[in-house]
């Protein structure tokens, strides 16, 4: 029974990811006084792409053609372990934050390889930038996550969330810092403004789009879906770790339904905030990215320090 719920949850996760992307796009359009595309436009795009035949470059090796599947599976695997609408699912035994970071790293590794594989200038440039950004973002993310783990004395996400839920509202300085750090990292890792602009294609500043420039057809559809999943994964992480209230702790239909509504509401809100920040903030120069990420790292570090200093028992 529990396994069924876990599978349903994962399927739901994958199914809802494009909706989140659509909603984000809709919010941004409204904020910028533009006419918004339909909320379901990402689905239509994905269907259209997957019905087309992929065009593969002559010199592409197997890495190029297999990568989309690997990346997509890694993301689905990540989606299956993250507590989405309920905690204590059988999958949550492996819902370890370090595993999660590992899965992200795995997917990124193949994406970067695929970008290099073709040998075009853009692909290589994108890969090298992606690796630069991620090498700076990963320590920051781990710092933020470790702050959480120290407070809950575990690296298991599900247990940590239960721990936060069990207490009443506790305002922790360390969580404030960790939240800020994680938001900054999430923005960088999912390639949003101010690090990368997901809507442009022919700029010398692009990172993510540069790597996948050569993809088409169902390969592109998988990669697009994978990056939408990644956005949603970060959203769910932020929402459920720091504001876990509403998540289902038992498997009754009411609790599950309530949990689904809660997480949808939280994600919708996060998307609005992201939309606003993308509207008001300008993209920063590539050379400033390290400054931005070292600030995120500093915040993560401060979170850990304030956990040790401010919240220690005496």
């Amino acid at each position: 029974m529990n396994w069924i719920i876990a599978i349903i949850q994962t399927l739901l996760f994958v199914a809802l990811a494009p909706l989140l992307a659509g909603w984000l796009k809709w919010c941004k359009c409204r904020l910028q006084n533009r006419r918004a595309p339909s909320l379901f436009q990402p689905y239509k795009d994905l269907i259209k792409l997957s019905s087309k035949q992929p065009v593969v470059a002559e010199h592409a090796s197997w890495i190029f053609t297999r990568s989309p599947y690997i990346i997509f599976s890694a993301m689905v695997l990540a989606a299956s372990v993250v507590p989405f609408i309920a905690v204590d699912l059988p999958t949550s035994a492996s819902a370890d934050v370090i595993v999660l970071v590992g899965l992200f790293g795995f997917a990124r590794f193949f994406l970067a390889l695929a970008g290099l594989d073709i040998g075009t200038a853009f692909g290589g440039m994108g890969s090298s930038r992606e690796m630069t950004v991620s090498s700076l973002a990963e320590p920051a993310m781990l710092m933020a996550v470790f702050t959480l783990s120290m407070a809950a004395s575990t690296t298991n996400l599900s247990v940590a969330i239960t721990h936060v839920l069990e207490q009443d509202l506790v305002l922790r300085p360390s969580f404030v810092f960790a939240l800020l750090a994680l938001i900054l990292v999430a923005v960088a890792e999912t390639g949003r403004i101010p690090i990368d602009n997901p809507t442009t294609h022919l700029e010398l500043t692009m990172i993510h789009e540069a790597m996948i420039l050569e993809y088409s057809g169902r390969h592109l559809a998988l990669i697009e879906l994978a990056s939408q999943l990644k956005l949603m994964l970060y959203g769910v992480l932020i929402a459920n770790i720091f504001f876990p209230w509403g998540i289902a702790e038992s498997f009754t239909p009411e609790a599950l339904g309530y949990g689904l509504l809660a997480i949808l509401g939280k994600l919708a809100l996060l998307a609005i905030i992201l939309g606003i920040s993308e509207t008001v903030v300008a993209k920063m120069r590539l050379f400033r990215v390290q400054e931005y990420l070292s600030f995120a790292y500093l915040l993560g570090l401060l979170g850990m320090l304030s956990h040790i200093i401010l919240e220690a028992s005496r």
Partner: protein, 225 residues
């Protein structure tokens, strides 16, 4: 006592302390004047929030007046005044090259440790929350001084001066639930007058050395050469 066992007010105070301290660090590493002023305003806003929170939690209505004064002075008036000065002097595009930025940051961190060290004896008689709050406010005071030492622009000095005031105010709010009203009004009055005087001084310094770079104020020596 771990944080879970504290009441909500203490938790909020700790979080505010952490954020106020963070703002001081951000100011320390900031070379752009407009951003510096903005961070200063944010710190003022955090103070306002803390004061209002204290007023609400401790049921102490006179703190609302302090909160209001803080808001008007430190979030609106002083940042506005400094900002208009910066724009008038056309300094907002300048990036002040901070000498030894890393060293300054490390110095800031050691000042924080030093504040904890200095105030450690207090912990014997009061809660850990109080030690933390006082240590953070002392380090805000010391970081304000470090800011004044490491920056060359007069505007940055004023920001440092006022953030010292912020640290003191924070200490007063968290440790003693605000000073008596007459003292708070007096301090607010002093801050206001100081802010106005700084405005006058900017004008004088500008007319006398045609810049707001205080490194150029170097005519007077300890012993005459």
């Amino acid at each position: 006592m771990t944080i879970e066992n504290q009441d909500f007010y203490s938790q909020a105070i700790l979080s505010m302390a952490a954020l106020v301290g963070l703002m001081s660090f951000l100011m320390l590493g900031q070379g752009r004047l407009l951003r510096l002023i903005f961070i200063f305003a944010v710190q003022g806003f955090l103070l306002t929030a803390t004061t209002a929170l204290a007023a609400y939690s401790l049921n102490n209505p006179h703190l609302y007046i302090s909160a209001f004064l803080t808001f008007v002075l430190k979030v609106l008036f002083i940042p506005w005044m400094l900002k208009s000065q910066v724009i008038q002097m056309n300094l907002h595009r300048d990036l002040e090259a901070l000498k030894n930025n890393t060293l300054v940051m490390l110095g800031g961190a050691s000042l924080m440790v030093f504040s904890y060290y200095v105030l450690h004896p207090i912990v014997q008689t009061s809660s850990a929350v109080m030690l933390n709050a006082l240590a953070v406010s002392l380090s805000v005071v010391l970081l304000g001084m470090l800011l004044m030492i490491s920056h060359r622009q007069a505007v940055a000095h004023v920001v440092g001066f006022m953030s010292i005031e912020n640290g003191l105010f924070f200490a007063a709010i968290v440790s003693t639930q605000g000073m008596p009203m007459v003292v708070e009004l007096g301090v607010a009055f002093d801050v206001l007058v100081a802010a106005v005087l700084f405005g006058i001084f900017f004008f004088h310094i500008r007319t006398s050395i045609d810049s707001l770079d205080v490194d150029q104020l170097n005519r007077l020596h300890e012993v005459d050469k």
